[in-house]
């Protein structure tokens, strides 16, 4: 379909909660495809949520299979998620997260190590999936976007947690 521009904070849409996708929403497949195209075009990205391209519906895609870190552990390849919801979380681990919508900064964020989550796929089927490690962290990061949260909402200390990224 189309590669869409990625919104950059302080675009106010990044701080809005997205609305659940209705069952009869016929255009959700187009949105999923735009998300996949935009994620792939961004090269380094392992996930993107609809609000990042200015669409306030609860849709996100994650694919850690092409990243170095993702390849070191089991993963589900391309996950296309409509109305995703985490139903169980356990453990915790810290990653230093960077986000395409908050360029130049990275922050230490504690996330659940292991999650069980459910979502509707592109074909309208309900799926329940377990995930751990990097993939689970990516899913939690993208899910935050659907709630209008950025990693800056998750850090506890600017001094130790947020760094200006090296400029290229």
């Amino acid at each position: 379909m189309a590669v869409r521009p990625i919104l950059i904070y302080p675009d106010p849409r990044l701080k809005q909660a997205a609305a659940a996708v209705a069952e009869d929403d016929g255009s959700v497949a187009d949105l999923i495809q735009d998300l996949v195209d935009t994620m792939v075009a961004a090269g380094h990205s392992v996930g993107i949520a609809a609000p990042q391209i200015g669409d306030l519906r609860r849709v996100m895609v994650v694919d850690v299979s092409s990243s170095k870190l993702g390849q070191q552990q089991s993963n589900h390849g391309l996950l296309e998620m409509v109305n995703p919801r985490i139903i169980e979380r356990s453990g915790s681990r810290v990653f230093r997260e960077g986000c395409m919508s908050v360029p130049e900064y990275t922050g230490n964020v504690t996330r659940a190590e292991h999650i069980v989550f459910e979502f509707t796929d592109r074909h309208g089927r309900l799926r329940v999936v377990e995930s751990s490690g990097f993939e689970a962290v990516a899913i939690q990061h993208e899910l935050d976007h659907l709630d209008g949260l950025l990693f800056l909402d998750r850090v506890s200390s600017l001094k130790t947690d947020v760094f200006r990224r090296k400029r290229g």
Binding site: S67, R96, K159
Partner: protein
């Protein structure tokens, strides 16, 4: 623009930050970077500030006098050109936790090893916790490991210190991910 490092230390009480920043605001100063924290019973503020017209210590006149009158110690350092620019952090972020019964030399011995290996410490906090009878010293270091230095290697460097200082030392890197 000329930058200055301003440090203010004094007995902690409510209103210090407001009093300091009101003065800076009225002077027209920018706060470029800052870190303020309670250390013991003291509140310590470190700020990198700038002002479009200020070029020296004299530019501030007697602006900080009210702080000194309120029993705060004020120090102003005039930065050399470029002194306000943070360095590029290249490499893996490594957290080192050190804790154990309080004894002299914990900070020094760990920092000595890291310094000798040219490892850059970017953050360091220590606290004395535990009870008066059994004080426990805790230190958390954030350091940047340059290319070629692994978490395992740092862990090996720490091994003799575990024995000599009788402390627990945990070394872990934080993976950086682009999401």
């Amino acid at each position: 623009m000329q930058h200055f490092a301003l440090t203010i230390v004094g007995r902690d009480r409510p209103g210090i930050v407001a009093q300091v920043t009101e003065i800076l605001f009225n002077l027209g100063c920018n706060i470029a970077d800052s870190s303020c924290s309670i250390l013991g019973g003291q509140f310590a503020m470190i700020l990198i500030i700038s002002h479009p017209q200020f070029t020296s210590r004299d530019s501030f006149g007697e602006a900080f006098r009210p702080l000194e009158d309120a029993d705060l110690t004020v120090a102003l350092r005039v930065l050399k050109p470029g002194g306000e620019v943070p360095p590029h952090f290249e490499g893996e972020i490594c957290m080192i936790s050190v804790y154990g019964a309080d004894r002299p030399g914990i900070v020094y011995r760990v920092a000595q090893v890291l310094g000798a290996k040219r490892i850059n410490i970017t953050d360091l906090n220590t606290k004395l916790v535990g009870s008066e009878q059994r004080p426990v010293y805790v230190m958390i270091i954030e350091a940047i490991l340059p290319a070629g230095v692994s978490e395992q290697e740092v862990d090996v460097w720490m091994t003799p210190l575990r024995e000599q200082l009788q402390v627990d030392i945990n070394v872990r890197t934080i993976p950086q991910v682009e999401l």
